[in-house]
Symmetry: C2
Amino acid sequence: MLPAFFCFKSILINFTKKKNVVMDLNEFRRHGHELIEWMADYFENIENFPVKSRVSPGDIIKKLPENAPLQAESFDSIMEDFNNIIIPGITHWQHPGWHGYFTANNSYPSILAEMLTSTLGAQCMSWLTSPAATELEERVMEWIAKMIGLPAEFTGVIQDTASTATLVSLLTAREKATGMGINSNGFYDLKPFSIYCSTEAHSSIERAVKIAGLGKEYLRKIEVDEFYAMRTDKLLTAIEKDIKDGYEPLAVIAAIGTTGSTAIDPLDEIGRICKKYNIWLHVDAAWAGTALLLPEMRHIIKGIENVDSLIFNPHKWMFTNFDCSAYFVQDKAALIQTFEILPEYLKTKESNAVNNYRDWGIQLGRRFRALKLWFVIRSFGISGLQEKVRNHINWAHEFAGWIEKSKNFELLAPTPLATVCFRLNPETVISEEKLNLINSQLLEAINNTGKIFLSHTKLNGKFTIRFVIGQTNTKHSHISDAWQLINDVSTQFS
Amino acid sequence: MLPAFFCFKSILINFTKKKNVVMDLNEFRRHGHELIEWMADYFENIENFPVKSRVSPGDIIKKLPENAPLQAESFDSIMEDFNNIIIPGITHWQHPGWHGYFTANNSYPSILAEMLTSTLGAQCMSWLTSPAATELEERVMEWIAKMIGLPAEFTGVIQDTASTATLVSLLTAREKATGMGINSNGFYDLKPFSIYCSTEAHSSIERAVKIAGLGKEYLRKIEVDEFYAMRTDKLLTAIEKDIKDGYEPLAVIAAIGTTGSTAIDPLDEIGRICKKYNIWLHVDAAWAGTALLLPEMRHIIKGIENVDSLIFNPHKWMFTNFDCSAYFVQDKAALIQTFEILPEYLKTKESNAVNNYRDWGIQLGRRFRALKLWFVIRSFGISGLQEKVRNHINWAHEFAGWIEKSKNFELLAPTPLATVCFRLNPETVISEEKLNLINSQLLEAINNTGKIFLSHTKLNGKFTIRFVIGQTNTKHSHISDAWQLINDVSTQFS
């Protein structure tokens, strides 16, 4: 039998335990104001955090209880854990010292818009379920098409990510080529399709090829030139060989700004080849698309009229919270036919007169994502966006110039946009293997300073450090400080 | 030549035009506080809005300029347009009178978490890119698995929507059945797979079948019983016929809560059939999954041990902002093998020791969605969530009882959860055609009151009004008021 005091203690615990009172409107108002202070302070002090989190695998999860609480907990205790457990495990993508991968920016107007989007909690699957969200999306996508210089034939729709958009594009190509035949009857008794991208193309293309059932064996990875752009002579040879061998060339995915080095595939020439052979042409400009805001950069999409679809991510470099991908397509009807569904419970009397974006992609449910684009574009103005992006590109060229003049570093690729590919190559080191090793160590040492964060790729077998400029709050001084830091850290390796 | 005053005026306009000054931190802080007031006021006054927006197609877009502004605009002018143009076009999903489709709820703690998520703007594709987000997702999904009574063999991951998760499940089934063969080599020379769901299954299943290249011709829509649940005798017959005809049965998708009437497919029996024939079994519990928080409701997943994967949406009925789908799978390795990609630029030294959720689904980029689940679960506590869901189910039974007792209305399906399917059937009307017509008119008239919003489906050819109870802020009084309103409006039709 349990001693009497034990029972008494249990009763006491039950008595003092918080009652199950869920946050009310007054508390929401109060905590909302507290969070605004937290958010503004975060941006004010962000440079005090190490960019890359210093936790080790398992550090966070072991601090989190194994079971959910039975009773309601106070917001203060949740925020305490957020500050003490979660924040140390955050890698700070909004730090102005962020130069890794590609940026995934937010900005003040974007965050404010997200607050409204989450409050309204509207579903933008059909016009009826949220007319303003649907019509704002239509208008904002028209704005963006004009802002980046697309021909009037393109229609835009927001997708969540470039991965999804590339899949959407490939599926549309697949269905257009077969008269919606694979949707209906699958692949049986069809000859294999072949798909083309460069060896430098993004991994999401291979994933999309797999998902669409096309088989990665039929994804031809075309050789690149010395600047890591697709070689059109090799593309042409591959297409002609496939035709001769009984394959049906389905789609080419051109990269305007590869993930490794932001190489620009020669779109004009690729477009002519695609037109000649009636092949769908999709452009992956996930990062680089934002540069098209600048008229002086539009030469990189010369030949756009032969492009069937294009994706770029305002959530990368256009200061708009993830997720927000701008997908543009010439044959809107083919897109919709590929995805449309109309069960009874989704029928509305407006169905034919309006856009029902649920039929423009994979997901049925959709967030009200046009709002943040509207807030961002209006808050910056086109010229405000241009100014930022132009600075980033100029600073990248300046940084590349420093590399070129340096004795110890070398550029490993051109800098067409705002990503600089380089490595340490001190005069004392000879073998490529050794160079790869010291550059990977250098990268780790740089990131361990906590001041900046960079990531890597391999170009032609060489371990390549990537320096991406594009974070919303990065100033010129951050670039010169970063260069100083890289030099300082590198002394231990040269 | 232009008159002098015109030129003068132009100069003045240029002078007074706002300079391109983008919002700074102080303004963000100020506008943030303003928005908190807006947000709290919105919830305070939400019942003053008509639930369903009253705009007509084109009303919104014609008020939006055709071109983006060149110069920055003030936040005040953006908010003015938001209030005057956007808000009248919003259908208010967070209104306590929301009884349409399924609910897509938010809640105060969820909105607060979204504010932090959008501020951090962290990418949760790899452990390294956001360790806390990865480990919190792992832990919170463990919580949820236990909270809804899943066996320990299930591993969870957050997907954006049930549409995506069902596609992920079908692709995993496809690849597991072929040893990752279609990913590699496509469908060529394979015999057709057959897939099974009921005639009442969600449209996203057909879409997933199409995307995966399986062909909707091979999607067998199995007949339902009088309660709109899948008939297992028909399922068995279809499977055996397919095998005899040379098809390979690949997957069954069982609905725990169909979209039309929340019918519950007999999982236990379906699981036994799937086990016998080695068929992948996916459960679509998009709405109903939340009911599993209640131990007394777990009978609806009897046989769960034979299920390969299950999806339910906390963003529907668990008071968590869209998007947030909880996907659970038994064979985690097959899931990851289906989607994994590892290009050089994504390699990290921790790759093998940690979860890299980019390999658990379609998208590479991922928001920090675990945070809102953590905030919601802790703020409500399990018992707080249970209380709400239990109320909704009880109130639905009460509402169904009112229908049963009524002379003019009739139930058209059982009410296993919190969705009541009914129609007006006054004694004076005879033909089914006429009944369909007056019920569609009745639905429109109810929605036009602006007080509540309902949607419809067809059950057995009958136009069916659906009354879904599950909105975060709905109280019992809203249900009784709605019943009164429905009766009042119906008098003009009976």
